[in-house]
Symmetry: C2
Subunit: 216 residues, 2 copies
Amino acid sequence: MKNNTVQYKNKKKISEPVIRRLPRYRRYLGELMKDGVERISSGKLSEMMGYTASQIRQDLNNFGAFGQQGYGYKVDFLYEQIGKIMGLDKEYSMVIVGFGRLGQAIAGYIDQYEKQFRITGIFDLPDKVEDIEFKDAYVADMDSIKDFCSRHKVDMALLTVPRSEAQHACDTVCEAGIKGIWNFTSVDLKIPEDVHCENVHMSDSLHELSYHLKDK
Amino acid sequence: MKNNTVQYKNKKKISEPVIRRLPRYRRYLGELMKDGVERISSGKLSEMMGYTASQIRQDLNNFGAFGQQGYGYKVDFLYEQIGKIMGLDKEYSMVIVGFGRLGQAIAGYIDQYEKQFRITGIFDLPDKVEDIEFKDAYVADMDSIKDFCSRHKVDMALLTVPRSEAQHACDTVCEAGIKGIWNFTSVDLKIPEDVHCENVHMSDSLHELSYHLKDK
């Protein structure tokens, strides 16, 4: 199977919609592993996931020929490969900016389910930091972000500040050299070109739900 | 402008990608209103939002001819119309199943920013309910959901239970007759055909972020 890896290393640019589907593939494969399933065809995956079998084959072919004709995909191998593709075989250092209820909830979630993301720093308003403690994370007021990042490698910042503070917090972490932003502020942030931002717009999904319910 | 509304009432089926973009249009229009902008062209919206102007015109044409040649869109009118299209001119009754840190954080968010969604009931494990209080919401253990729904109209359920409880909680609210699920459990739920589910898969977006950062 060595060829696959090589093929992936000489990688072409993967389109965003494919990237967005990969975590879902991985989740389904994880469920299959838990159920003791060792291999699966694109047809069966298609039934489970609601994508067409040809879409699935096409998606996964982006990264090399993982499947074998008449055999299907080896579940644990594919799970692991997608993890590698997503960069989940590495460890990331994350700081949290804004440690209200949402920040705390997500920190707890990461600590439980996403152990390769290590929360190394937590930043909030000066009058809040005294009461904050989370494992071995460094806790300080928001003015200290730059200083902290100059002393530690930080890969990403989780933003859970109020909307009115969102762009300022974003500017601060970008100036500190952080290249990844996980944004829960419901604001579309302006970011430099070399920074990647993933948004979790909770209201958007709530409004999609109300769209589907409004006539029920 | 009456024609628009009529046109929308005789509505064709709107595609999911369009529906998914609508909340974002509304957010941008809301920002423009705050800045005192009264009208905007599809070209300017395109610059702000990163969609092409023709995409924007096409999206909004689904709901009637909101724009006027050479004038553009009237910001407040379009904001309001999209809100109506999303069903945000109505009030919804929501129950929360699982009131840990995440449930509490989202409840606070809704109470602050999404006032047309009223939290009417909160359900958790028997040993947790004693300590729960949230405004005038009814609080009880999870076995009481059906009974509560038989006495009150409930439009949607927010699920923030642990992964292992997710499908069971989902089955319970569906059996209770709830037609909308806002799912934060990171599990892809099996639901009846007449129920709509919106997922907020936090891990998926975190993994997309790690994909983009892995080689930085």
